[in-house]
Symmetry: C2
Subunit: 101 residues, 2 copies
């Protein structure tokens, strides 16, 4: 379903689980332990709803990095992207990602 990159549910199933799927959306529940890191993967355009505070570093395929901070309860819309996330916090993080098909 991801237009670019590998599907995180396949390449990082410990952190990415399918919560719900129909013909319009795929809903992922994403959970990282403290300081945990993923592998490079892709998402289609999506809407994140953060269930915990977040302090995450995204590394992109070109090597550039970006830090994303958010508080529990916030939402954030993402364009289609490929990235490698890392939890920079000493606390676990959890979010719901609504991927748009």
């Amino acid at each position: 379903m991801s237009a670019i990159g590998q599907d995180p549910v396949n390449v990082d199933p410990d952190h990415y689980k399918v919560e719900f799927e129909n013909d319009r959306v795929r809903v992922l529940r994403i959970s990282y332990g403290p300081r945990e890191i993923s592998v490079m993967h892709g998402h289609p355009a999506s809407l994140a709803v953060f269930l915990t505070d977040q302090q995450v570093k995204f590394t992109y395929p070109d090597g550039k990095t970006e830090e994303v901070r958010a508080e529990a309860g916030q939402t954030l819309a993402f364009s289609e992207m490929e990235h490698l996330p890392e939890n920079l916090s000493d606390k676990p993080l959890e979010l719901i990602l609504v991927e748009l098909k």
Copy 2:
């Protein structure tokens, strides 16, 4: 945007606020105080992410009712619907509703 019923953002702006909108989705932040009730309104197909525990009564246009219970962090997919929600709890409730265009 709702295919049926009145837009909750217009008829109940105290409880329904637009958090984000693009050509694919409209994201509502929905907040009810204890025991508060809305007015009849409609939503397109949508995905709810509950930020607090919920105990809500939906009354439908035909007069039938349904109780919806959920815990903070759960998600629930809804088909297009018209309903009148009431918070049955003595606590405030909050959720994010991702409406699909």
